[in-house]
Symmetry: C2
Subunit: 370 residues, 2 copies
């Protein structure tokens, strides 16, 4: 199977995303092509290290670049100030310079944390992403957002720091639990729903092949990266259009918070899946989109095995007012109105700047599981 | 006395530096002009707060913007990961958004730390500098370098984050100890020595008026900011010319490290003063510049009361080899050669990329105090 290259066009910060099987084991050679003479440090977590560290270290060493290895515990708790300090100190202790390369080998947590560390050591070092989850390959590895969590909210602390190269090894996804692959797939479908109706239709037909691997999977990841790269190139620092990428995330984040970020009940991509279905249903309720489109989104999420309504979340949820409270924690409510990503139909999403709070609360009441 | 404005031309990151007396007490109005509706947090240290916090809080409050205040201990130890976390947490706790303003009220330590915090909360908030030391007004407040220290070296962790506005209140300098004012003056003289021979000549004539305050002081600060702004506009991210700003800093940093950053023996600006004199003397020894120019630099530093040779540092210094060790800690030595800022004469400095280590060591031996 051949490797697909997606170029992220950001002027002098432009970079390539390579997508295909076996890229981790070719890391040494591919990094050397772009960053000759750069020494390297790999940041990873214990789970990913067990599956993928050895071939990467071997490949870098074969290219004459024996890397420092910084290994952290797996899980969301690692996106903390403490871990950031550990990574920063270890990179400095390894005596890496600005022109050397910090490699993130892992999922979104490792990518976000490592990118942040690479962005602040010596005011910005070379950064290479090797995302090993579907979510990281199609979302967090494109666009340069890095960060950690604050006790007061997720991703509140970070920088924009673009990688020099992204290697998305599609074979690494074979080691993912099905539930995690599915959760990442929610973000793939999101790109169709934002502004690529043809891609969404293609997914409705081809999703089984995307799940089973092979060329369709590479194609879906490449389309997703292209879609995100287009938005990011238009609005690198999120002052406008980039907000479209939050489709499904307002409801989704509220549900994640309402379930106390308990991954046994709801993981991020599942929250986004339910959030996207709700955003379409809410748009229909506001007479902005056809209820048929909302039904089509719900059907596709159900087909692939993703949750699509609040009732799909195991355990009890807080009531509608409390859910609304989680939404407003996330954003400013000015004069009783909120900003939401809504839609006029499949692939026609837009930024709605004055959604009345009262409509949101009524909608949550109608769609509440309880 | 009128206020002078220096524009830092960085495209969509351009900003103004206002220089003149009484600007702190006008902070509320001046910030509101540029950032209408922005709420504010002030970061300062206990010493500066005693002298300057009240008028600033009053001015902001009068403009309808009651600020959050984050007060830290004074001193270099505050440039730490712990303080960074405190400032970041406090900004988030004050519920400030990206469009709100984080104000640094203080010297270089507060400016560097606060700029870093403003650069990473929500991936970059508005930042306003109100430098209260001469060093901060002419150096750290121009150019967007922010950062903290690592146990392994100074300023190793940080970001480039440009302020939206700098208010350099020249009356605030009247509260500085003379020794601190002098140390800041070393960086003023540096701009003449880098590439403005007329400015250096003007300083030789007018330095007494710069020290006593008034129009000459404002003029010297404005010239310094213009000089630094020119270099920064050419090379925002320090990939080339910006290195010229390190004139005097290679020797200076080594001497600071050799005296264990003990401010009772040597403060940063004094290290730079000795470093600039040594850079000129070393250039003369390498037959690149006239010894007369080195003598002229030494004479001016002596006139204003700054140390200009290693013998001026109280207490014993490590021997020449050990000093050379401190220099190489700071930079890469590739194949026995180092990069230095040298000069062909007053105002004719340049980046020398392959200075033989052996020449540096011989020079240090000849000029050693012991």
């Amino acid at each position: 199977m051949s490797v697909v290259t997606v170029e992220v066009g950001l002027g002098d910060r432009a970079y390539d995303i390579l997508i295909g099987p076996g890229l981790i084991a070719r890391g040494g050679e591919l990094i050397q092509q772009r960053l000759p003479k750069a020494r390297a440090a790999i940041v990873t977590d214990e789970n990913v290290a067990a599956a993928h560290l050895e071939p990467l270290v071997a490949s870098l060493s074969a290219a004459g670049n024996v890397p420092a290895v910084i290994k952290l515990p797996a899980g969301e708790k690692t996106k903390s100030f403490d871990s950031l300090q550990t990574v920063v100190d270890d990179i400095i202790a390894a005596r890496l310079e600005r022109g050397d390369a910090v490699i993130a080998l892992g999922g979104g947590v490792i990518g976000d944390l490592t990118g942040f560390a690479a962005g602040i050591v010596r005011r910005g070092m070379n950064f290479v992403q090797m995302p090993t989850s579907l979510l990281a390959q199609v979302d967090s590895s494109v666009g340069g957002k890095t960060g950690i969590n604050s006790p007061r909210g997720k991703n509140l602390i970070g920088v924009f720091h673009q990688p020099k190269l992204v290697l998305a090894d599609t074979a690494a996804l074979d080691t993912l639990p099905l539930r995690e692959f599915r959760a990442g797939y929610a973000e793939v479908a999101k790109y169709g729903l934002i502004d690529r109706p043809d891609f969404f239709a293609w997914l409705e037909t081809n999703w089984r092949e995307v799940f089973s691997g092979g060329a369709a999977r590479i194609e879906a990841i490449a389309q997703s990266c292209r879609a995100k790269a287009d938005v990011v190139a238009r609005d690198e620092f999120e002052t406008g259009d980039r907000a479209l990428l939050n489709l499904g995330h307002t409801f989704g984040h509220a549900l994640e918070a309402a379930t106390a970020y308990d991954g046994s009940r709801l993981v991020h991509g599942e929250g986004v899946a339910i959030g996207m279905a709700l955003a379409h249903r809410f748009s229909a309720r506001l007479n902005m989109a056809s209820p048929d489109d909302a039904a089509r989104v719900e059907a596709h999420l159900r087909d692939v095995g993703l949750p699509w309504r609040m009732a799909d979340i195991p355990g009890a949820l807080p009531d509608a007012e409390a859910l609304f409270g989680y939404i407003t924690q996330d954003k400013k409510v000015s004069r009783g109105a909120l900003t939401f990503i809504l839609t006029r139909g499949i692939g026609q999403s837009f930024i709605a700047r004055d959604v009345p709070a009262s409509e949101v609360i009524s909608f949550l009441k109608e769609n509440h599981a309880g």
